[in-house]
Symmetry: C3
Subunit: 264 residues, 3 copies
């Protein structure tokens, strides 16, 4: 069950405070992530230079680390920003894009988790299973497993890391290892728009910037994703229009659209 | 006052000459900047390798330096390209994205101004104030100040640097330190589309490529931004559709739409 | 002549197999290339780190090397990925963006061709002529020549390199140096959307992933581009909406839309 008054309170807080979200993310999604953050009411900044990441993370309300197009230089900056944020109590959110597709991705994720202690890890089922069990292989960055399949790994990973773990899929699962929250909104066409998962990660970061109850914040972030995506999909004839309509729905999300469309 | 016949003459020149605009810009906006340049009739190229920036700048009609996602390697290329363009009389246009947010950004902007002598600096109010007065702080890349507030800093910065300074906002100000031009078109929703300011910078560069009167060129570039954005906003229900509709309006801009919509 | 049953067979295979396409491509187009691949039914991954490109290329069904925003570090990864793919019999597809605009771009293309032996080179007319004859100059990344002009260079380049050479333009030519296939679909407005050529390269890669007859695969890739682009253009009022509508048409492409719209 998602508590609608709490969700609306957080959404209002986002729009009032316009929290600065520092993203060290991949090239593919930067434009859409920035527009998603602007749509919901946050203020995005993308910055990766080792000369400034600590300064930028220090003034941010949350830090997103997304390894989608990682390389050694960027990983160095991710770690520097993440450690700074951790030391200042700024929430760090990890998107382990493609974990399991190459040994390098899996290793970098484990290092980021160890050194930056993200409070949320948001990924698809294949990535979560690969993170928990290195024997799992993923095919690139698209999930080949349903979110249900990954639930046990998600719970175990949450217990192991202390992070809230979010598995996106037909049903989204959000867990601290014990409690499980679910978000049932969404539409399968969303998986055909590149970077929808990355935007979800930015959304959970945005809600973590205004709500210290991270399990709740992550659930609220996934709820706005699912609701906006589901409404947008009914107006879209393909992944091109869905990418555009999704931003418009996020932009216009309010108490009415949330109450009318939320699935409990 | 914007002289409409001069604006139309420049727009025709852009479409006749299709000037090559060399962009060393940030990852977030590259796609939209390129499409904005194609929409108005210019030919965009993005190139940042130290092995080719001097060659590329040499064949361009204008060079845009945008520090949105800077790092040391890119700054080296920005400086090399900018100095080449300067030496060949090719206009250099600077977008100091996030100046004031970190010391690194402010320092890099000052170095680019000193070494590449941009003929136009286009920024939001917070960035202009931070550039003129290092004590100013900006919050990421979004302005927290109105353009009116920055007018004195803009004039002083223009006098200090010799550049035409453009402050975007509800009213856009374009100044050489003495004369002040204004553009009153636009719509507040434009600030919710990432990279609209970066596209504005590309537009002033495009007009500077065809009009040696840089104060006039910068004013014309801001005018097409404001008019296209204002028309597009009336057709858009959020920042997703505005990003798309803006390009369409820029693509279709002509004497009729300009005369009908321009605010003097 | 395009054999429609073979084209439909390949399109079905793409949608059944969802081949993983590894892209080392430019910053400008990454989002659109990924969405184009998702629209047609493939699974895109972007990865450029020297620490993982060989691993990623090894699990891919095709590798796209696109030099649009190259630099020395990325070229090193392009070569490593390309040589791995070559050694494993995975098709390598080259998009020599801006070849001829700077000596660096031309030299890098020649090195990639020599060391990675791409099975397809897809480019615009100016780029193909520059690759075959270093005396040719290109203006940035937009073609200043018609595809007809480049046909002789394309045939000679195909014979010289062993690659299928594809020249995009009003008529697309696909040649192994002897046989010439043509695709007559398309719309001039497509040239005003940045990265349409890059998406075409990703499409020929996708069909090469499911059809070992590379001449046929490249023709099929260009056919779906042309048909989707032509349908989308009739619904678009500028390059903004065309970028979106193109993805939707690619997403919805089927036997009916292909048979109704294909030009032979």
């Amino acid at each position: 069950m998602i508590d609608i008054p709490s969700l609306l309170r957080d959404l209002d807080a986002v729009r009032q405070q316009s929290p600065l979200i520092h993203n060290i993310t991949n090239y593919v999604v930067m434009n859409n992530t920035a527009n998603g953050l602007l749509a919901i009411g946050a203020s995005p900044v993308m910055a990766h230079a080792i000369d400034e990441v600590a300064d930028m993370a220090s003034i941010a309300s949350a830090l997103v680390i997304n390894i989608g197009t990682l390389d050694a230089q960027w990983v160095e900056s991710m770690l520097a920003a993440g450690k700074t944020a951790l030391s200042k109590g700024i929430p760090v959110i990890l998107d382990p894009v493609g974990a399991g597709a190459t040994p390098y991705r899996t290793a970098v994720c484990k290092q980021i988790i160890a050194e930056c202690k993200p409070c949320i890890i948001r990924a698809n089922a294949s990535e979560i299973m690969a993170l928990y069990n290195a024997a799992e292989k993923t095919k690139g960055v698209d999930s080949t497993d349903s979110s249900d399949t990954a639930l046990d790994s998600a719970k175990a990973l949450a217990k192991q890391t202390g992070a809230i773990v979010v598995v996106s899929g037909q049903t989204d699962y959000i867990t601290d290892g014990t409690t499980i929250k679910t978000v049932k909104n969404g539409n399968p066409m969303m998986a055909r728009v590149t970077g929808m998962g990355c935007t979800a990660t930015a959304m959970v970061a945005t809600f973590a910037a205004v709500n210290p109850n991270i399990l709740e914040a992550a659930t609220h972030g996934m709820a706005v994703m699912g609701i906006a995506g589901e409404i947008a999909a009914t107006k879209s004839s393909g992944n091109g229009s869905l990418q555009v309509n999704f931003l418009d729905e996020l932009y216009n999300l309010n108490g009415d659209t949330i109450k009318t469309n939320i699935k409990q």
